[in-house]
Amino acid sequence: MQNGFHSNQARRQQYNYGPGNKFSGSNPNRFNRRGAYGGSFQDYRKSARPDSYNNANKPSYQHSSDQQASSFDNSNQLWMGDLEPSWDEKTIKKIWQSFGESPTSVKIIKDKFTSGNNKARNVGYCFVSFPDSNTVASALQKNGLQIPGSTKTLKLNWASGSNSLQQDNAKQGGRFSSKSQNDYSIFVGDLGMDVSETLLFESFNRNYPGQIKQVKIMIDPVTKLSKGFGFVKFASPHSQQKALTEMNGYQVGSRSIRVGMASGSNMSINQEKSPYPDGVSASQIQIPQYQPPLNHITDPENTTLRVDGLPANFTPDDLALHFINFGNIVHCHISPDHSFGLIKFLVRTDAEKAMLYAHGAILDGCRVKVTWGKNDTDSQDATNTTQNTTKHYKKSSLLPPIYGRLGSHNIMFDRLSPTELKQKRSECFEESEPMSVQKSNQLLIDKKNHSLSLLDFSPF
């Protein structure tokens, strides 16, 4: 009876992790479970292992019970992906030995359906444990190396939080002992690229001497650059609360920082760095999305195109002729040394179209590259003086909007006099609106005249 009950319980538990769970998208346990095999959601998102998505609909995880039984400290554990299906624990250990590392254990995640037979195939990743943090660090260095005797490369990532947090993990006796009583952290955002952990520590320690237990800046694993946010752990709730009110807007490095409650007080730092911990909705923490630095390439309002590789005999007029069909051009000129041309469109979408269609074109036998260009003033500075090339990019200002069309054909503003411009503006019309016969005739005639003049007055 007892046994039966227990086995029942066990079965239910098994079942809970089994098929019944597969649609439980809203079940918080799901996150826990995923955490249980070592990757926090954050890690999962960062590294975006494709297979873990596929696994999400697999009925069960063979390792789930193992995990509970397992006693090893997963802080010294690495996730290793991109495995050959045929590899087993031994092969992986051998691989590591060939790199001069000796993992304490290897845990391969197997497909549940095939787990019955001995030749179970792995699902493409495993967890490798190492004796201590140093070996983990050195093992991680080998990320991306070619695996001997295979076409694959080592694909590694932290299975748990990064190693600077290991001691906390160890102290807490397990990563998911969710609430720890003496952990008071705040979230710090808007950090400049120049802010190091030392600098952040010093800045806080100056204001709360002896109260700062730890600082952590999140580093993008791919770019190795700061993600622009981090966490500061305080020794007492008092200083934590004070910092929350006092440190907002405080200047650290080149920028003023933003602080916020990480995910309620007393949250373990490991979970804090996860944006979606249990019980805390995502909206409570605002982690800034990675924004590339603003320059001419990323400026969404930039309408200037830079054209490289122009034929030596190209004049600005020739250049404009090849681009005018995309839209009205504000100005178009070629650098004095003839190394590139700049075309500024009136509207962003026109510039985008021009870039799509003209990039890679062959004009007069020359291979033309089209990229986003710096706006006018910048480029002039850059060509005049070389020291100004590092000048800060100024966001391009929006041009005054024009509703409707300016005439029968696209125009170049820099070829018009101010009075002509004004006239053009007053003639602006909306195509979808009803139009007098006279006007529409006039437009047609204008268009034909313009076509003819283009052909007749071409210099060659």
């Binding site: 998102r45 590294s47 975006a48 596929n54 320059n295 870039m355 799509l356 990039h359 062959i362």
Partner: protein, 753 residues
């Protein structure tokens, strides 16, 4: 304008450096021996570099000459004679080269003359001043300096003969100066100087009358200080006879008769002294009134002119002021045109020329002022031959001295002008020069494409007048054949060989050869167009065949594939001349699918072709009768001109054919399959590749994303229909994805260049 005004302005003008050359030298700091040798060589080297880098920075030039003088002064006159001489020579050369480029730099001329005075003596310095007024005759300053120097020289002469000679020479120079600058509104210092000189010649009757005559001339000229001259005249005019007073009148007798009638007298002798005084007062007062009204009129124009000198520092201000000069010139011109008698015409002619020349001092680089000048002289009363010489002088001054070489308007006007006066050989010569100046060569910057091509067409049209039709067609045919049919080296060789064979003609062979060697890809298009038009002119059936053969032979030439003129000719030829709609459609489809013309040009061609076809619909349908199909070009309507790659088939093909990214792709495919390839068929579908390429950029042009995240087991996928009648709908599997990892990688922004 009151006397007070006059006094004030004369005070203002005191800063005109008008005294002798020596006074300037006293003002200037002479000699500086303190600078140590090392540092002076350093500054010397830097300043030399600086002036070669910034030849338009006058301040730099000034300090260069200052340092040069210091260096010369530091050298001992006797011991280091040779080095000193070298430095002086260098100074001379630098001054001359700078001034030959910018002859309107008054201060540099002055410094030059002082420099020469200091090291080479009075005589040479006067020579420099003479050159300066020759080069810059409209400069009052330079004239005053020059005349002052001459006067000083004159006073220093002791021998009587030589003194008289110099006096006569001075008078000639004074008259010349007055002749050139007398109409300058601000020329009173010059008049004063002349009067002062004559006054200093003693009280003899002759010099008195000279003095009076000058005064009368000044009195009639609208000058800023006109009132002063009137005052002085009215003080002394009664000492002179009536005839002397009427010196400036063209018809003295008529004037005397007028006064005789007024006083009811028969002869001059009957006038009493009082009456004579009355007449003189009345006459000179009338002159004064006339001048006064003129001055007032001119004042509205003169008062707004603030920058009468040429300077690099005030270029923006000068530009701003140029419309004011223009209205002034227009005013003068209208005065000249409305003048009803010869004397007035002459007066206003001189006055207008004076204003134009003055306006050309600050605006000497502006071709519009030169054209204005040309226009005025062209419409003036002079004879044709005089006009030609006069105009040619104006053009040559503008072209060779002042108008920058990147502004060729006036140069083309010059060619037209030469052709107008029927000088085709001169015109051709000049056109060839201009062609070389604007043309493209590897070691020369500043290829002016449009100007160069205009030159080509000018040269061709000049040949047209020089050569017979037959000959010209032959010449052009040879040029085109040689251009396309062989490599460049071969072409040049051929040109040399065939030179001996060709017969003599009005155009010299070297001309044709230089013309030929300077042709580039665009220029040959102009030549081709000229050749085809020539052929078409004769309108014989044989030439039509010739033209079509030409098309078939050369249409794939890269130079012609981008030539608008070439395609325009054939569209016109088939559409408007021969009315051959089948050929027209062929040409249009060649344009649409096989050229690399800008889209807007192709669209224009399509537009024209469509218009032609619609206007000739019956014949179009007739020619389609056998195929039983209607006209595709008309059916596709405006989709060909659409800016959508999906609709505009021709554009899609053009873009994909002329995209090197796609070409690279094809090349790499071909490299992989080397040897296996049997047919000429392209390995990739270029248009598909183009669309793929564009799709990868969609929504974020400039940042290609090769992999998009996708759901691999989409519910709405092929035959995965769900039967809604089933009560137990099978639970669909969770979505699975692909490319999620790649898509969530940080975006790879193109690096900044």
């Amino acid at each position: 304008m009151t006397d007070e005004d006059n006094r004030l302005s004369s005070e203002e003008k005191n800063d005109h450096p008008s005294d002798t050359v020596t006074s300037h030298i006293n003002e200037r700091r002479v000699g500086l021996n303190t600078a140590s040798n090392d540092s002076s060589t350093d500054t010397w080297d830097t300043i030399q570099k600086e002036i070669s880098l910034e030849p338009e920075n006058i301040a730099k030039w000034d300090s260069f000459f200052e340092i040069l003088e210091e260096k010369i002064d530091a050298l001992d006159k006797d011991e280091e004679y040779v080095r000193r001489k070298d430095f002086i020579k260098l100074g001379n050369e630098k001054y001359r080269s700078l001034l030959s480029k910018y002859p309107y730099l008054t201060s540099i001329w002055k410094n030059f003359s002082i420099f020469v005075f200091k090291y080479e003596g009075m005589e040479k310095s006067i020579d420099i001043l003479r050159t300066s007024v020759e080069q810059f005759p409209r400069s009052l300053d330079l004239w005053l300096d020059y005349l002052s120097a001459l006067i000083t020289e004159y006073h220093g002469t002791i021998e009587v003969d030589k003194k008289n000679e110099r006096k006569d020479y001075l008078r000639v120079q004074f008259d010349l100066a007055i002749d050139i600058n007398g109409f300058n509104f601000h020329s009173d210092p010059l008049w004063d100087k002349y009067l002062e000189f004559e006054a200093a010649q003693g009280q003899g009757k002759e010099s008195n009358i000279r003095y009076f005559y000058i005064l009368l001339r000044a009195n009639k000229t609208p000058l800023y200080q006109y009132a002063r001259y009137y005052k002085e005249t009215s003080e002394i005019n009664k000492e002179f006879s009536l005839l002397d007073n009427f010196f400036m009148e063209p018809d003295k007798d008529a004037l005397i008769n007028k006064y005789l009638k007024l006083f009811k007298k028969n002869t001059e002798e009957e006038f009493s002294t009082v009456e004579l005084h009355q007449i003189i007062d009345d006459y000179s007062y009338n002159i004064f009134l006339n001048t006064q009204s003129l001055v007032n009129e001119l004042w509205t124009y003169e008062s707004v002119l603030k920058f009468p000198d040429f300077s690099f520092n005030t270029i923006a201000d000068i530009r701003e002021e140029s419309p004011k000069w223009m209205t002034y010139i227009e005013y003068e011109k209208s005065k000249y045109e409305t003048a009803d008698n010869d004397a007035d015409k002459k007066f206003w002619y001189k006055s207008t020329i004076s204003v134009i020349e003055r306006s050309l001092v600050p605006n000497c680089t502006d071709y519009k002022f030169w054209l204005k000048y040309v226009d005025f002289v062209h419409h003036s009363f002079t004879t044709e031959q005089e006009k030609f010489e006069e105009l040619r002088k104006i053009y040559e001054r503008a072209i060779y001295r002042f108008v920058p070489s990147d502004d060729n308007h006036i140069r083309f006007h010059f060619i037209k002008f030469l052709m107008f006066y029927n000088k085709p050989k001169l015109a051709l010569e000049y056109t060839m020069d201009l062609m070389k100046a604007t043309g493209f060569s590897e070691n020369k910057e500043g290829y002016q494409k449009n100007d160069y091509l205009t030159c080509i067409s000018y040269a061709l049209s000049i040949w047209n007048t020089l050569l017979s039709k037959q000959k010209l067609t032959e010449v052009l045919e040879n040029i085109i054949q040689r251009y396309f049919d062989s490599g460049e080296k071969l072409r040049k060789q051929n040109a040399r060989e065939e030179k001996s064979e060709e017969k003599e003609s009005d155009v010299e062979e070297p001309d044709i050869r230089t013309f030929e060697t300077s042709l580039n890809e665009q220029a040959i298009c102009v030549v081709v167009n000229c050749y085809l038009t020539r052929l078409l002119d004769s309108r014989k059936p044989s030439t039509i065949i010739k033209i079509r053969k030409f098309y078939n032979k050369y249409r794939a030439e890269p130079a012609l594939r981008i030539s608008v003129k070439f395609w325009k000719f054939f569209v016109d030829f088939e559409g408007l001349v021969t009315h051959n709609t089948i050929n027209l459609k062929k040409i249009i489809s060649d344009i649409e699918y096989d050229t690399n013309l800008p889209k807007i040009i192709v669209d224009s061609f399509l537009d024209i072709a469509r218009d032609i076809l619609i206007s000739n619909l019956p014949s179009v349908l007739e020619s389609n009768a056998n195929t039983g199909r209607s006209e595709e070009l008309l059916l596709t309507n405006y989709s060909d001109e659409s800016s959508s790659l999906v609709l505009a088939k021709g554009w899609r093909k053009r873009i994909s054919d002329n995209n090197f990214l796609i070409q690279n792709l094809e090349d790499s495919k071909a490299a992989k399959q080397h040897g296996k390839q049997t047919s000429n068929q392209s390995l990739i579908n270029k248009e598909d590749e183009l669309l793929k390429l564009i799709k990868s950029h969609a929504d974020h042009p400039g940042i290609p994303i090769s992999q998009r995240p996708e759901i691999t087991n989409s519910l709405i996928y092929e035959e995965n229909w769900i039967n809604l009648n089933d009560h137990e709908v099978p639970v669909p599997p969770l979505p699975s994805f692909k490319n999620v990892e790649k898509a969530s990688l940080p975006i790879n922004y193109p690096s900044e260049t």
